[in-house]
């Protein structure tokens, strides 16, 4: 059964040089309980897709339909985990989640139930020890976990995550990926996650949606990841199918879609974008070194 459907979505951003078509003809169907990753080069329009589903942007053409209803504005049934956690810095971890819970369950849960629910969700992400710390008193990984707890606590129909682990070190990231898999297995949430990390995409997803480069980006290929769950990263490291999937993604990114030259995509926030791209580059370069045996390597290295 189709849960979420994007049909012929196109979006124009107004710029000083006229409208800039960031996405064109995006079609995507996602089922209930499915975990979908969006991957593509920086600036291709992944965040834009996510924001469209969240209702933060409005499509110029086409539309987004969730459970038979068109998405017109943001709402808590489409919870977002933002790239930079976006916690309110003046509220503690508990209060940040509380703000969401009070908003979503104000008519359905009693005070005590809300408290329990907030604590339960922070427990899920292993944050019970720092309930009353403010964002500036906890680490980056902890902030991201609180952000996830806040989104989960909204009991969304669909969970939207924009590079949720992008800014974290490899160990913390692995840890949070495991937590996320565990939580998703338990709650059976529908998830759309943006990532730059090929391993992350293959490990977590049921399907990987690979996007072409912008402008007028669209869905390039969709890769079904047919690996049984629960998945174990160490066992999968030697798995032939796993490495095949990685290779598929890498070859899409580096052979079929060349990395765009900086500056030719009419970036709205050039400085920020450029900084981000620079940070992404080593990440992708790292991916390349792990797949020594893949034939894509030579091309990829030159591309990276």
């Amino acid at each position: 059964m189709t849960h979420l459907e994007l049909t012929g979505v196109a979006i124009d951003f107004p710029t000083s040089r006229g409208p800039f078509r960031a996405l064109d003809g995006v079609n995507l169907k996602i089922n209930q309980g499915e975990f979908v990753s969006l991957i593509g080069h920086s600036g291709c329009g992944k965040s834009t897709v996510l924001n469209l589903v969240a209702g933060l942007y409005e499509a110029t053409e086409g539309g987004v339909v969730l459970e038979g209803k068109e998405v017109r504005e943001p709402g808590p049934e489409r919870a977002v985990v933002f790239q930079n956690h976006s916690l309110l810095p003046w509220l503690s971890a508990y209060e940040n989640v509380e703000l969401a819970v009070k908003q979503v369950f104000r008519n359905t849960k009693s005070r005590a139930e809300m408290k329990e629910w907030i604590e339960h969700n922070l427990e899920l992400v292993h944050m019970s020890h720092a309930l009353h710390k403010r964002p500036d008193e906890i680490s980056g990984g902890m902030k991201q976990r609180v952000g996830i707890a806040r989104a989960l606590a909204m009991q969304p129909k669909i969970l939207l995550m924009d590079e949720p682990f992008g800014a974290l070190d490899a160990l913390t990231r692995a840890h949070l990926q495991d937590s996320l898999m565990e939580i998703q297995a338990r709650l059976n949430n529908t998830v759309i996650m943006i990532t730059h990390d090929v391993d992350e995409a293959v490990l977590l997803s049921d399907r990987i949606v690979m996007m072409t480069n912008g402008p007028a980006a669209t869905v390039g290929e969709i890769l079904d990841i047919d690996l049984e769950r629960p998945r174990n990263r160490i066992e999968l490291a030697d798995d032939v199918r796993y490495n095949h999937y990685r290779h598929e993604v890498l070859s899409f990114l580096y052979e079929k879609q060349h990395k765009p030259v900086e500056g030719d995509s009419q970036s709205a926030a050039p400085a920020q974008k450029a900084a981000k791209t620079a940070a992404d580059a080593p990440q992708l370069a790292q991916d390349m070194h792990i797949v020594k045996s893949t034939p894509g390597e030579t091309t990829a290295s030159t591309a990276a």
Binding site: A54, L56, P76, R78, V80, L88, P89, W90, M154
Partner: protein, 340 residues
């Protein structure tokens, strides 16, 4: 060889214990001592140099009211003004006592008689004027804040409102209090008519003038603070569908607290300066009037007294700013932020 190494370990050990001892006792190191010395000494030296220069300069300035007051005269006049105040208070007490006695006597003769207590109507002293000015400035500032913060939040949240009001704000912001004063005086005289006024007209005039001039920095800073809330936090609010008031209380206000306080401190500074000028010009009671009266008075003490007033105005202005700063660090959620 072996002795040498033992000796060196020994000395290391000594150093370690010493270090620990120092930590335990928190003996101030030479470094902290010199830092404290710098923090205290430099301002002190600055003050002394200033007093000396003032002293020399004052001796060389002759005015029609005598020599310009130096530090010594100012010191003298300060005590003179305090003594004046105490004398006046003594008179007031005596006046009240006489009245009470007289009333008691009347009542003793005729218990049904209606007795009245009249207020003492002596000349307000320097200290009284300080009190008046402080009350006026705080009232004017409070009124300005009550208008500026809510309006600033609305303007900051609403781009249309911002565009509509921005030209007006830019137009009125640079208007001098002296330009407002006649208008305010006339309007207050015309509109504030009551037989038993709760506040004096002069108080209302000063208050409104102060508010009109001091509300702009708070208004503008609040609006800028609110409108520059990060898009991410706005998105959080949108995704949660926070109602307007929750958005204001949970997001807009905390996010703009630093900007708001920058504005409030500017506003309070302006309020204080404007008030003194308005009091001088309108002859409304307060420190400004005191200065003007002394100037008109033209006695040999006048310049010294004015100088005392100048210093007091400065000190009060400084303390008002300090108080706001304290309030800011109490209210601010970001305890690490450096408040200057």
């Amino acid at each position: 060889m072996s002795t040498l190494s033992t000796a060196s370990t020994e000395s290391t050990k000594n150093k370690l214990t010493l270090g620990r001892l120092q930590l335990a006792l928190r003996t101030p190191s030479a470094d902290t001592v010199s830092r404290i010395a710098r923090a205290l000494m430099l301002p002190l030296i600055g003050l002394l140099v200033f007093l000396f220069a003032w002293h020399i300069a004052a001796r060389n300035i002759d005015t029609s009211l005598g020599q310009f007051p130096g530090p010594a005269q100012v010191y003298e006049q300060t005590f003179g003004l305090i003594a004046d105040h105490n004398r006046e208070r003594g008179r007031e007490a005596a006046f009240m006592e006489r009245q009470e006695k007289r009333n008691a006597a009347i009542l003793a003769k005729d218990p049904g008689a209606e007795v009245r207590m009249r207020d003492y109507t002596g000349k307000p002293t320097f200290i009284d004027q300080i009190g008046t000015s402080l009350i006026t400035v705080l009232a004017g500032f409070a009124l300005a804040t009550l208008i500026a913060i809510p309006l600033g939040i609305l303007i900051g949240l609403n781009g249309t409102l911002y565009a509509a009001l921005n030209p007006l704000i830019q137009l009125f912001k640079p208007v001098s209090p002296l330009a407002w004063l006649p208008l305010v005086t006339m309007v207050v005289s015309a509109l504030y008519v009551s037989d038993e006024p709760m506040f004096a007209k002069s108080f209302i005039t000063s208050l409104i003038t102060v508010s009109l001039c001091s509300l702009w920095p708070t208004l503008i800073n609040t609006a800028v603070g609110v409108s520059s809330i990060s898009q991410d936090l706005k998105n959080v609010s949108k995704v949660l569908r926070l109602p307007f008031m929750t958005h204001v209380i949970k997001i807009a206000i905390p996010a703009s607290i630093p900007a708001m306080f920058t504005g409030l401190r500017l506003s309070l500074g302006i309020a204080w300066m404007v008030l003194i000028a308005a009091e001088m010009l309108a002859q409304n009671p307060g420190l400004g009037k005191f200065v003007w009266d002394e100037f008109q008075n033209g006695s040999s003490d006048s310049l010294g007294r004015i100088m005392v007033a100048v210093l007091v105005i400065g000190i009060i202005g400084f303390m008002l700013d300090r108080a706001m700063q304290l309030l800011q660090s109490r209210i601010s959620w970001d305890k690490n932020a450096v408040v200057r």
